[in-house]
Assembly symmetry: C2
Homo-oligomer: 160 residues x 2
DNA sequence: TGCCATTGTATAAGTGCTTATACAAATTTA
DNA sequence: TAAATTTGTATAAGCACTTATACAATGGCA
């Protein structure tokens, strides 16, 4: 802990990663504790399918901001688990659209109250301290700063 | 992007992870761009060995806040690359202490100016916006909030 | 209309973590 | 002091991602 404070921003990335893992790990423990076979990594897909009928691999990869490969593998796994089913895309035969199965729908019903509690817990946590209250805004502004000029560019600027 | 704003804190973890990967990836690109065979994940070890003569696997795992296994595997890799050498621990024969080799020391000299530039670039980025300026403080307070009461506890509290 | 670049997806191989297991050295305890 | 426990490390197996590659369907263009 002392080490990380000392080196400050240089280990910023790892520090964020740890914080992230802490969140996801605890949320997964909540699912497990309630005997619900759900993984926090599946959230984006289930959330989107709770609002939209069906999604293509590209839709999913785009929303998760990850590779098509990762989206494809994730969908394959949920398919195997019987939570997703393929639906043909009338307009484009290349696309593999997926929708929730009946089993997936039942899981969704179970999960929704957990989502509500997660949201409440996070808001509570963030509202507790004067600066943590600004965490989301700070992240957003940092992302915007990166969009203006990449870290790569910024570092190169400071090199001889 | 719109999706993530909509779901807010529920994808907080993944959002932090992405931000983290963006930092580490760009820093690695800087090393590559300057023809330096160094990985951002090695930073903590090299930094500590620039201030301390030698470290044990447990020291490293503790500082990185990761598993002994991960530390052991990382050390094994740096050993293979000829950057670390084993030094016997007089007091405890179980411990495997490591120190920089001559090659490791030369690499350290090459890397230090990059570290300075990374630090400067990060500070610049964080100082650009009113809230991003508070990012480190916000993270620290959030970590402190988690220490007071875990996310798991907080979520359970909000469940029926 | 036929060719070609683009788009959408799947799969293989590789990486870096994790947990589980093993084992040796040190320490505690009876 | 012998036995049991703890500590320090290594290795195996598994997981989730990555990049690279392949290939089929589509759309643009000559």
């Amino acid at each position: 802990m002392a080490f990380y404070q000392q080196t400050g921003v240089l280990v910023f990335g790892s520090r964020l990663r740890r914080l992230s893992e802490s969140f996801l790990g605890d949320i997964n423990n909540v699912y497990k504790h309630h005997g619900i076979a759900f993984d926090a990594a599946w959230f984006p897909i289930f959330y989107m399918l709770s609002e939209t009928e069906s999604l293509s691999i590209t839709d999913i990869a785009g929303a998760l901001e990850t590779s098509h490969s990762a989206a494809s593998q994730l969908v394959a796994k949920l398919h195997e688990k019987g939570l997703l089913r393929s639906v043909p895309d009338k307009a484009d035969a290349r696309k593999k659209r997926v929708a929730l199965t009946a089993k997936g729908q039942r899981l969704l019903v179970q999960i929704k109250p957990i989502w509500t509690a997660v949201k409440a817990a996070m808001n509570e946590l963030l509202e507790e301290s004067p600066n943590s209250r600004l965490l989301m805004a700070a992240i957003q502004e940092t992302e915007a700063g990166l969009a203006r000029e990449s870290i790569f560019q910024r570092i190169e600027k400071h090199l001889p």
